[in-house]
């Protein structure tokens, strides 16, 4: 067990010697091959790496969407590997937020209904003051009663980010959130995520292969072949590109 990392801040999520193996014997693929990493609360972390490096798998396992073959993942010091399906769902609902690349919204619900959906699923009322703050921050006030089909791609992603923010989760996972957006919309989303971290102390983990997107993060974790291959604090796009070149991506 690797217990070397000494946290300077509260740890929102952590993976300890996480292993994920697909297939058996000869055909076994080690998607995660002993990943140990901490994600500090109130920071914006990007995970980067070439295709097949295990970055998405790591995020899915951290979020309780996928299960590990071996090792442990924690959110708020809760060991996800010990949870039953139902408790995992509740954990996702209460402590985790998601932003996917596309198709983030339930098409039958309006923007505001999508934003409050996790709270509604839990059968609780959102904190109205906080909700107003979130809505104003993403600038969606006049779009709240629209259905997703009536919103642009960028607006849809803003609704998705607002949804994750609204329930004040321990951690937000964003999987290529700007992958389908033009550069203007991408910038809006990324800036909003950075504000969420800086102003509201939100914890965000974002998987991306776009160095420019990753440069909005406080810290970048590099994965290769299922292992952590490096780390960079206060990244810039240029430094990230250099590092990626070194990884052979």
């Amino acid at each position: 067990m690797a217990q070397t990392h000494t946290p300077v801040r509260t740890i929102a999520a952590r993976a300890v010697d996480a292993r994920k193996i697909y297939g058996k014997d000869d055909t076994a693929v080690h998607a995660l091959d002993g990943v140990t990493v901490d994600f500090e609360a109130g920071r914006f972390t990007a995970i980067m790496g070439p295709s097949g490096s295990g970055k998405s798998t790591l995020m899915h396992c951290l979020a309780g969407l996928d299960t590990l073959t071996d090792g442990h993942v924690f959110i708020d010091d809760i060991d996800l590997t010990t949870l039953k399906e139902k408790d995992l769902t509740l954990l996702r609902r209460e402590r985790v937020g998601f932003v996917f690349q596309s198709y983030n919204l339930v098409p039958t619900l309006t923007a505001i209904e999508n934003i409050t959906l996790p709270k509604s699923l839990a059968g609780t009322k959102p904190d109205q003051a906080w909700l107003d703050t979130v809505i104003d921050t993403v600038g969606l006030r006049n779009r709240l009663s629209h259905k997703p089909s009536e919103l642009s791609g960028g607006q849809q992603q803003r609704v998705a980010v607002a949804r994750t923010m609204a329930s004040r989760p321990t951690i937000i996972f964003a999987d290529e959130p700007t992958g389908n957006l033009d550069s203007k919309s991408s910038t809006e989303i990324l800036e909003f995520m950075r504000r969420a971290v800086r102003e509201f102390g939100q914890t965000i983990v974002m998987v991306t292969h776009d160095p420019n997107a990753a440069s909005y993060a406080d810290r970048v974790i590099f994965l290769a072949d299922g292992r952590v291959s490096g780390e960079m604090v206060d990244p810039t796009p240029e430094r990230i590109l250099d590092k990626l070149k070194g990884l052979g991506a």
Partner: protein, 854 residues
């Protein structure tokens, strides 16, 4: 293209299997019905051939429009004349009487599902005899009888036992001298048979000096045709054009014809439900193929882009339908055979002994079953196929989302038009003003009506789902809210799925409304017309021994007593309409039985006068004093004077004659028994005391009838109607089952289509049980929509039918019963059940795969 078709078949196997099952159920219903009725017909055909095997010629009277047993009896003198005709080896006069109700050792009436209790004369010539003595010998004299071996076996009678039999002479105890076999079997298609010495049978069944028919065996050496001609000549010499001599085979066919008509009626009744089931499955087929085509939009567009023609796309979809249709129809045929075999076994255990033999699978059955299944499937797939052909090649590149379509104006207009045409056709058929072909009129009419309503339903699907889902959305949280939104997403799919359910539930509603209306009407008619203290009959109004009337009339406790007999004649000539004729004792009119006649002329009535209902008088323009021609089956055309027009609403048919007039015109065995007795206690005797005495006699000697007062009579009628309802529901259950499969199918497809969305919901915290709940409530909304559509259409049709009945002479108090709530409850529960599988599937979705789904 063929390869693409096959790939599609394999890829969509689950929903194709679900679709196929609905076709299988419908086809098996149709096939099973044909096989069963053909088998029963074959059984009876064999039976009648067997019992007529030794009969070369059968002589009967030809008055009226009588059937094989319906003619007037022949004078015994005819027998003497025929015995002298050259070439006649032997001639025997026979009596086939009714009732000869055998009582078992506990005193209960032996009865197999309403089959008649026949009395038969014995034969001197064993070759002419339809039965032989399996055990023992022929009965001789007043105190002996032989009974069919099946009855003896099932009720532990052996030769030498005493048996009580209720005949028109009343209950009599006989000694069993023999047990009868009929060819290879031990009874006559469920009927009980008691054979009496011929003179005894003649006396019991009021045939002294007469016979029902004469049967002749021809010398082996003689020429059959010559003898037949000689016999006919001898008959004509007695009285021209009054008798006919037919061959034994002909007589067997005629006898079988009577039964075949009943079997054919049952066949049509059952087939109706089979075709309804198939019709409902077309909805499933249309739905499935529409959705498959939508899902294949990209693939089809790619094929088009690669150069496939629209025609090739159409045929690729149609071939897929054809394969499903052929496989499902073959499976349905097999299942139908199985069901028929099962029912045959059940019937056999219920006393209807059939000769051992295979089920009758006629080529016609195979053709009709396969064709109906295949044609249904392919035709239903035509519209989706044409839509597939309209997929533009460009759709291959675009992200093709299934279009959300509502009820277009054209769709609604076409629907409304179809519904009106269907309704007009249906009304036409029922009032004899429409197409003469029942299949075209009734089937086409109902089909057009249902399709029309389904099309219009698309227009209301969205608001209806919103309304039905209001409570669910409010009280079932987010899953309920989403369920409602989902049910409103594709109005076409929601409405066509609901419409499939609507069809069965419309019929259920209609039957419930009519049953409640008939029950209420009957109760009111009983209240209004019942002037007696008690009535005696059995549930089916099967005629019973007239001796009961005489026995009761002689009791000091019984005051006025009247008998009722129900018959039919034709208005005017033998080609006229069938009209009901009741025979009622003159003394009962407006005393025991209210008819509402001012200045009733009992003498004229007794002398052959006719009472006519107000409605019939209005319809035919009749008034007291008119003379009216009626044609009777046995006695031919008679002119009868109209004595009075009666105004009371009672349960009499259109015409009433006196018992004497009835007996004169209905000499056939089955009409020489009473259907109903009504009586009052003698003056000063409490009703309960009278009833006690009457009941004791009935229980001892006439166990096939019961004594009841007004309230009990109503209750009995109600129960009968309930039983009838039950049969209907059992038959309609198949259609409703198919529609439920359709709901499952639609939900499964929706779940499949929304995989990503469901994955998202799960990812952001929807629990499995919330997911199940969401799918379940969507199914409930769709099903309840179907239930409400069925309810509305059924009630509407109930009023239409009541109006038609009214115009046909049956005034119906239309009642919309509270029990209709059950239609919605059933729909609700069906929705829950239908959702079980898709809900499970949705809940088990692998979240990662779901999110990754394109």
């Amino acid at each position: 293209m063929l390869r693409a078709t096959i790939r599609s078949l394999i890829a969509h196997k689950l929903r194709l299997v679900l679709t196929a099952i609905s076709v299988v159920v419908g086809v098996s219903f149709v096939a099973g019905t044909f096989v069963l009725t053909d088998t029963v017909k074959g059984t009876f055909g064999n039976l009648f051939s067997e019992i007529n095997a030794g009969v070369d010629l059968h002589v009967r009277s030809t008055t009226g429009f009588g059937d094989a047993n319906g003619g007037e009896p022949l004078s015994a003198s005819v027998l003497g004349v025929l015995a002298e005709v050259p070439g006649v080896a032997s001639a025997e006069g026979i009596v086939i009487g009714f009732p000869a109700q055998v009582l078992d050792k506990t005193g209960d009436a032996v009865s197999n599902g309403g089959a008649p209790a026949l009395g038969w004369s014995t034969y001197a010539d064993p070759e002419l005899s339809p039965f032989f003595y399996k055990v023992g010998r022929a009965p001789v004299g007043d105190t002996e009888v032989a009974i069919d071996a099946a009855t003896a076996d099932s009720h532990d009678f052996v030769v030498g036992d005493l048996v009580k039999i209720v005949t028109p002479e009343g209950p009599t105890v006989y000694t069993i001298t023999g047990l009868l076999g009929f060819g290879e079997v031990d009874n006559l298609g469920g009927a009980t048979v008691a054979a009496f010495d011929t003179p005894v049978a003649q006396r019991i069944f009021d045939r002294e000096g007469r016979f029902d028919a004469v049967e002749i065996r021809v010398d082996d050496a003689a020429n059959m045709l010559a003898v037949q001609a000689a016999v006919q000549q001898a008959l004509d010499a007695i009285e021209p054009e009054s008798f006919e001599a037919v061959t034994g085979e002909q007589n067997a066919e005629d006898q079988a014809d009577d039964l075949n008509q009943i079997v054919d009626a049952i066949n049509r009744f059952l087939l109706m439900f089979g075709y309804v089931a198939l019709f409902v499955s077309t909805y499933n087929i249309v739905n499935t193929f529409s959705i498959i085509v939508t899902q294949r939009t990209r693939e089809l567009a790619l094929l088009r882009a690669l150069g496939a023609s629209g025609r090739q796309v159409v045929s690729s979809v149609l071939i897929e339908a054809l394969v499903v249709g052929v496989v499902a129809s073959l499976a349905g045929l097999g299942l139908g055979l199985g069901i028929a075999a099962l029912i045959k076994a059940v019937l056999a255990s219920g006393g209807l002994e059939a000769p051992p033999g295979a089920l009758k699978l006629l080529p016609r059955t195979v053709i009709v079953a396969l064709l109906s299944g295949i044609v249904t499937t392919v035709i239903a797939a035509v519209a989706p196929a044409l839509r597939a052909a309209r997929v533009a090649p460009i759709a291959a590149i675009r992200d093709a989302q299934p279009p959300t379509t509502g009820g277009g104006t054209r769709r609604t207009a076409v629907g409304a038009g179809l519904a009106v045409v269907g309704l007009v056709l249906l009304i036409g058929v029922m009032t004899d003003h429409g197409p003469s072909n029942e299949i075209v009129g009734a089937g086409g009419g109902a089909g057009a009506l249902f399709i029309g309503v389904s099309l219009v339903a698309t227009l209301v699907a969205r608001p209806a789902a919103r309304l039905i889902g209001a409570g669910i959305a409010r009280f079932r949280g987010v899953p309920g809210r989403l369920a409602r939104e989902n049910s409103m997403r594709t109005p076409r799919r929601t409405s066509s799925t609901a419409s499939a359910l609507m069809i069965g539930l419309t019929l259920v509603t209609l039957v419930l409304v009519l049953a409640a209306s008939v029950t209420t009407t009957v109760a009111r008619v009983v209240d209004e017309s019942f002037g007696s203290d008690v009535a005696i009959s059995n549930e089916q109004f099967v005629p019973f021994s007239p001796a009961l009337h005489d026995t009761l009339a002689a009791l000091p406790e019984v005051g006025e007593i009247g008998r009722f007999r129900f018959g039919q004649a034709r208005f005017g000539t033998a080609e006229g309409d069938d009209v009901g004729i009741d025979g009622i004792d003159a003394t009962a009119i407006d005393t025991l039985y209210r008819m509402g006649i001012a200045d009733f002329d009992a003498v004229a009535f007794e002398a052959g006068g006719l009472l006519v209902s107000q409605r019939e008088a209005d319809k035919r323009g009749l008034a007291a004093g008119d003379r009216l021609a009626l044609t009777f089956a046995a006695t031919g055309t008679r002119e009868l004077p109209v004595v009075a027009v009666y105004t009371a609403r009672n349960f009499s048919s259109t015409y009433v004659v006196s018992t004497a007039t009835f007996e004169a015109n209905f000499p056939q065995a089955q009409f020489r028994a009473d259907n109903l007795l009504m009586m009052k206690a003698a003056p000063g005797v409490p009703v309960a005391a009278m009833r006690d005495v009457v009941e004791r006699i009935v229980e001892r000697d006439y166990p096939n009838v019961t004594v009841k007062n007004q309230a009990e009579l109503k209750a009995e009628r109600k129960e009968q109607i309930q039983q009838f309802l039950f049969i209907f529901f059992a038959m309609l259950a198949f259609s409703i089952l198919i529609a439920s499969i359709g709901v499952t199918n639609t939900l499964a497809l929706s779940v499949f289509e929304r995989t990503r969305e469901l994955g998202l919901l799960r990812a952001i915290g929807m629990t499995r049980s919330q997911m199940r709940s969401m799918v379940r409530w969507e199914a409930v909304i769709i099903a309840v929509f179907g239930g409400l559509l069925g309810l509305a259409l059924g009630i509407f049709l109930g009023f239409v039918m009541a109006g038609i009945f009214d115009s046909l002479g049956f005034a119906l108090d239309i009642v919309v019963p509270l029990s209709l709530v059950w239609v919605v409850v059933v729909a609700f529960v069906l929705g829950l059940i239908a959702a079980a599988l898709p809900a499970r599937r949705a809940a088990r979705l692998d979240i990662l795969n779901a999110i990754a789904t394109e």
